[in-house]
């Protein structure tokens, strides 16, 4: 059987169709249907508890959706172990709390997965890791432990760690929410560079400036539903839905 057959057009990186997800009684996602193209940068906005994080976590199957279909890079997310393995190495994820491994050095954090999942030789993995750390601007911290780094530096290491797997898609789950204001910029800069480099990105964030500047499209979620989709221009200047207007009036 080939997974190629079921994929849509090649440029569709993420396809969600009628995705439902419950936590017990609470329905977190209600019939999410969306398609994200290759090299597209999508920002997901919405009040807290609207299901943004749940959606993004379903896309690399940290949470299993219960109804509907999710297809990532032509691979459907099911219970198939091989598919799960494939998705995990194709999709990089950056968390709100960085979630670095505190007991190993920064370099080991970045090389662990390439060595053991991609089976790169150690030298190659370390070389690549150093390039990535250079890219995110902290090559000199490689030998330190995560606990010795500032929040912004930790988040950049987390980005490097995700990139080390050479993913085709990057998911960002509120990457700047846990950071002090002066560190937000350094992380956003790295993300901006990444977007300019042509990475497919899905970003949950509250940084409106970033959304306006970098996003190709903005999704607005409320109570587990996609309320409005549009380009930043449309979204910030001329939203159609009342709920979007209310949200924007509250945060801008």
């Amino acid at each position: 059987m080939s997974t190629e057959k079921i994929q849509g057009t090649r440029s569709d990186m993420i396809v969600c169709e009628n995705v439902d997800k419950w936590f017990g009684d609470f329905q977190a996602l209600k019939g999410i249907t969306a398609t994200i193209a290759e090299k597209e940068v999508v920002v997901v906005l919405g009040p807290s508890g609207s299901g943004k994080s749940t959606w993004i976590r379903c896309i690399n199957r940290l949470e299993a959706h219960q109804k509907g279909t999710i297809i990532v890079d032509g691979v459907e997310l099911t219970n198939d172990l091989r598919n799960i393995e494939k998705i995990r190495s194709e999709v990089g994820m950056v968390f709100q709390q960085f979630n670095l491994f505190p007991h190993i050095t920064v370099l080991d954090n970045v090389t662990l997965a390439p060595k053991w999942v991609r089976k790169l030789p150690r030298a190659a993995a370390e070389e690549r890791a150093k390039e990535l750390l250079e890219m995110v601007g902290i090559p000199e911290q490689a030998a330190k432990y995560p606990g010795q780094l500032s929040g912004g530096q930790q988040q950049r290491v987390a980005i490097a760690r995700a990139l080390a797997m050479e993913p085709r898609i990057m998911l960002f789950d509120e990457p700047t929410s846990a950071l002090d204001p002066e560190m937000i910029k350094e992380v956003l800069d790295v993300m901006r560079d990444l977007a300019l480099g042509g990475m497919t990105m899905m970003v949950v964030t509250h940084e409106m400036g970033f959304a306006r500047e970098v996003a190709d499209r903005i999704f607005f979620l409320e109570s587990g539903e996609i309320v409005e989709v549009g380009t930043p221009e449309h979204f910030f200047t001329n939203p159609t839905e009342d709920r979007t207007k209310l949200f924007l009036s509250q945060i801008l």
């Binding site: 995990r88 990089g92 979630n99 662990l112 999942v117 089976k119 606990g147």
Partner: protein
């Protein structure tokens, strides 16, 4: 009385830098109730010390019963002409200790303040002893002089090195302080007339007023020299060999040492060289080459699920070999069966090494080493011992205690970790099985488990299969201690954040990689202090083997020595000695664990 806890409190007045008088006032006589407490409990303390000293030094005590039977208490009936093996074993451990101290850079330093206070405390303790002990005036004078010498040395250090803030400056490495302390103990063997007691051909020899026998003091001196020499050697080679490699080798040696030292050095197996040449070596080579080739193929990156299915098939085959042997359908050498199990386990982890040629070859090399060592050990264990024994086993006394404790800890650790993982896993059946096992073991006393394994286990074994008493005991201890260990590890596992699991999943680690690289290292670090506590528990509980009939140090002190015609009914002396020995080991371990706990706490920040 130079108990280290005392020092902590006494070195505390640093902050206030009060005079001794103020200090005494503050800690002992600050107000009326406090004064009453001091007087009442001070009187009680003096009364208690007098009582203990009176008991210990009473003319009715027959300490020579202990002195004479020291070898029995330590090594039971180990043949005297082969005793060099015991010393060799101890020497190896000393060398490993010295090298490890050097490799791990035991760099702690003791401040002169502390040393001086310890020495002065010892002096004060001796003075207290001289005053309270029921001994003759002449010997009292001797003790007073000794006390004065200690106090003078301590004061000398204090005032000789006194710096700006009225306290001594400078420090010395803890390692060298310990070596010096041990040197004093060893020197005392050559100079202090402890007396010489022994059974020589059944006759009691008791010579007071001379130093201990040459067969005691010489080996201990050599041990000290080996310890210090290997430390110096370790410090030297630190410059030439990368420390990571030295540490890896040392850890490997520590793990192997109980097996090699016990089954090969102490047990002295009688190797059948013809059989080894005709069967054992070809068999080992067969597994090294055949298994190596198989593993090289199984770690091919393009193999995918086929490799896993093959590995599981191999595991079924390996397990089925045992079943077949139990039912007598077909049989093969024990060694072959064990090797197949090892091969199947290696095949299961092979996909993790599916990478370039170099990694795969390293994996195969590891396999070869595993087979070589395990085959050698199995051959050694299965060869009969050449020792002529008086007792049922070649181990007894304190060495049996140590052996059971070390082996139990080594074996129960992996089992406990597995149980903890099972109990915290998301698989209901595995969880129910592990929880059921852990809770039912923890619910019953150890002694009933030991009875089960020494009385009842033989009933469960298939015909023709027997289990040695010692093996039954260690099995029982291991299964018991694993349940407790699992609970400690579980605590650590629960302290690992959920996010760590998610992050590992997100970068694509498999469950086993996640467990091995991310979860367990963090969990075990947190559970080190309770694990050391558990180790102390295991060590103390080894005393229970005395009840089910093994000749450990407690059994010998409690029932063997009191049965000797020379020392009929002399029980309390031996039991006191056993208490002191257990106390020294357990107390130093708990001190160490408390230090570890502080360090772990610091690491958390």
């Amino acid at each position: 009385m130079n108990e280290p806890t005392m020092i902590k409190v006494e070195s505390r007045p640093e902050e206030t830098s009060s005079t001794p008088r103020e200090w005494i006032r503050k800690n002992l006589f600050s107000n009326i109730p406090n004064t009453i407490l001091t007087i009442v409990f001070g009187a009680f303390t003096i009364y208690a010390i007098r009582g203990v000293l009176g008991f210990v030094l009473s003319g009715e005590r027959r300490w020579e019963a202990v002195a004479t039977n020291m070898r029995l208490l330590m090594a039971q009936g180990y043949p005297a002409n082969q005793f060099v093996r015991v010393w060799f074993t101890l020497g190896c451990l000393m060398a490993l200790t010295g090298l490890s101290l050097a490799a791990w850079k035991a760099s702690g330093r003791l401040p002169a303040t502390k040393i001086s206070i310890w020495i002065m405390n010892t002096g004060a303790g001796l003075a207290l002893f001289a005053v309270l002990a029921p001994i003759s005036a002449a010997s009292k004078l001797g003790w007073v002089i000794a006390a004065a010498i200690f106090l003078l040395i301590g004061l000398g250090i204090w005032f000789g090195l006194r710096g700006e803030n009225k306290r001594p400056t400078g420090s010395m490495p803890t390692v060298w302080f310990s070596f010096g302390f041990l040197a004093i103990l060893v020197l005392s063997l050559w100079t202090v007339p402890y007396g010489h007691y022994a059974f020589v051909e059944g006759e009691l020899i008791a010579e007071t007023g001379r130093t201990v026998a040459m067969s005691t003091k010489l080996p201990f001196t050599v041990m000290w020299l080996i310890l210090v020499g290997s430390y110096l050697f370790g410090v030297r080679i630190r410059e030439y060999i990368p420390s990571g490699r030295t540490k890896a080798v040392l850890v490997g040696l520590w793990f192997l040492s109980p097996f090699i030292l016990n089954w090969i050095v102490l047990r002295d197996p009688d190797f059948d060289y013809a059989h080894i040449a005709s069967t054992d070596i070809p068999l080992a080579l067969l597994f090294i080459i055949g298994g190596g080739v198989a593993l090289y193929i199984l770690s091919k990156p393009s193999l995918g699920e086929v490799g896993r299915i093959l590995a599981i098939g191999l595991l079924f085959f390996a397990v089925f070999n045992w079943i077949g042997a139990f039912f007598g359908w077909y049989s093969m050498l024990q060694k072959v069966r064990i090797s197949f199990v090892l091969l199947a386990l290696a095949a299961l982890i092979a996909p993790n090494f599916a990478s370039d040629r170099k990694t795969r070859l390293r994996f195969v090399a590891g396999w070869s080493a595993l087979i070589a060592i395990s085959h050698w050990l199995i051959t050694a264990v299965n060869s009969p011992s050449t020792l002529e024994l008086q007792g049922p086993t070649y181990l007894g006394g304190f060495s049996l205690t140590l052996f059971v404790a070390v082996l139990t800890l080594l074996l129960s650790f992996p089992l406990g970790v597995l149980l903890a993982l099972g109990r915290t896993s998301t698989m209901p059946i595995a969880r129910v099985l592990c929880t059921g096992y852990i809770e039912s073991i923890r619910g019953v006393p150890l002694i009933t488990i030991l009875f089960f394994f020494s009385n009842i286990l033989p009933l469960f074994l298939p015909e023709g299969m027997e289990i040695a008493e010692l093996a039954a005991i260690v099995t029982g201890y291991t299964l018991f201690s694993a349940a407790y260990l699992a609970e400690n590890v579980r605590g650590g596992l629960q302290s690992v954040m959920r996010e760590q699991y998610e992050a590992s999943d997100a970068i694509g680690l498999t469950t086993s990689q996640r467990t091995g690289f991310i979860v367990l290292p963090q969990a075990l670090r947190v559970s080190i202090p309770p694990l050391v506590g558990q180790a102390i528990g295991v060590f103390k509980e080894t005393s229970l083997v005395a009840i089910i009939g093994a000749y450990d140090i407690l059994r010998i002190a409690n029932s063997v020595v009191p049965a000797q015609t020379e020392f009929l009914g002399v029980k309390r002396e031996g039991l006191l000695l056993v208490s002191v020995i257990y106390f020294i080991v357990a107390f130093s371990m708990s001190k160490y664990s408390r230090r570890l706990e502080e360090r772990v706490g610091l690491g958390e920040r």
